[in-house]
């Protein structure tokens, strides 16, 4: 098969590549992180011994979204060193080489591959979650709510447009090559329930 106008094919191919990218012209970039109050991420381990509710107020990254068109991309990082279980010694154990190994693998990371919006305003975001040097596919359901400018101003969130993003998901530690040490077996769960509560900001 031959084409009489190969340059046209090249133009179409380039146009196709550009439109297939995750960001569209109407997408806006929202920054994750900033002040502590913008981030409240929790993780929960439930056993017969106790339920541990840990948290962090530290995250970074970017959410690009076109709320009208229902397209979005997400890249969020959470430093392992900022995870707080409420007990200093337990934090040290959590970050040690026996567990999450903060030195070798300093960040948890979620990078989206696709996103779609539902009529109720929630989003299904499929992507890759990396923990402890292992990356696995993960699909999350996120609630995204635009914050009215006056409400954001009254709460002292700062200038620009704001979105509130919240999403729960589960992480099975053994899937990421993390074994609960035998000395705390039965007191820490293999499955952690994680919840992200983020206020993300578009400055312009």
């Amino acid at each position: 098969m031959t084409h009489r106008h190969p340059e046209k094919l090249l133009v179409f191919a380039l146009a196709g590549l550009l439109t297939a990218g995750v960001s569209s012209a109407a997408e806006r970039a929202f920054a994750v992180g900033g002040e502590d109050k913008n981030t409240n991420i929790t993780f929960e381990s439930e056993t017969d011994f106790e339920t541990i509710l840990g948290h962090t107020h530290t995250a970074s990254g970017q959410v690009a979204a076109d709320l009208e068109a229902g397209t979005a991309s997400v890249d969020v990082r959470v430093p392992v060193g900022a995870l707080d279980t409420g007990i200093e010694l337990r934090n040290k154990h959590l970050q040690s080489a026996d567990w999450l190994d903060a030195k070798q693998h300093p960040d948890l990371r979620f990078v989206s591959r696709s996103a779609r919006r539902f009529d109720d305003g929630s989003w299904e975001i499929a992507g890759d979650f990396s923990l402890h040097g292992v990356t696995k596919p993960l699909t999350i359901r996120a609630l995204v709510k635009p914050i009215p400018a006056d409400a954001a101003k009254a709460a002292g969130l700062g200038k620009g447009d704001w979105l509130r993003v919240s999403t729960p998901f589960e992480v099975k530690l053994s899937d990421f090559g993390i074994e609960v040490p035998s000395k705390v077996a039965g007191r820490v769960s293999d499955v952690w329930k994680v919840k992200l509560n983020l206020f993300v900001n578009a400055k312009s």
Partner: protein
């Protein structure tokens, strides 16, 4: 002389066994009373910043979960011992709800399930101690009787 030593061992072992047994029985009783008087069903939350709470309250509408307004909650309520200044929060939107903020300052409540876990562990240890002391008492008594019989013979 030897039988007096054995008799002392028997006496002390029996006393120890009784003490361990009483302690083993007292543990669940104390835990039950603590559970009954201080135990409260609460939803632990990692609290939001006060400004965020104010914002969430303005965005909240009836039918939406209330706990999320104030913090990031655990998936299930849990029973904790409320004492030493710990106080549950009852939101205006749902006064029946008991929220207990947990922060990073180390002031965290004792969960009732942890208390009972400790009681089970304590009872097992004290039960084993009781058995060991009764065993010592039994063998010391036999040795004492044997020594007495041998001396008479």
């Amino acid at each position: 002389m030897a039988s007096t030593g054995f008799a002392d061992t028997v006496r002390w072992a029996r006393l120890g066994a009784w003490a361990a047994l009483l302690a083993a029985l007292a543990l669940p009783l104390a835990a039950y009373l603590a559970d009954r008087w201080l135990g409260r069903e609460v939803l632990l939350i990692a609290p939001h910043d006060p400004a965020v709470v104010t914002l969430n309250r303005t965005l909240w509408s009836a039918g939406e979960p209330v706990a999320e307004v104030y913090g990031s909650p655990m998936s299930q309520p849990t029973k904790v011992l409320l004492f030493g200044g710990l106080k549950a929060l009852h939101p205006e939107e749902e006064p029946a709800l008991s929220l207990l903020p947990v922060t990073s300052n180390g002031k965290r409540p004792i969960q009732v399930r942890t208390l009972w876990w400790g009681v089970r562990l304590g009872m097992a240890v004290l039960g084993a101690a009781t058995a060991v002391l009764l065993g010592i008492s039994f063998f010391a008594l036999r040795r004492a009787r044997f020594a007495t019989t041998w001396r008479r013979a």
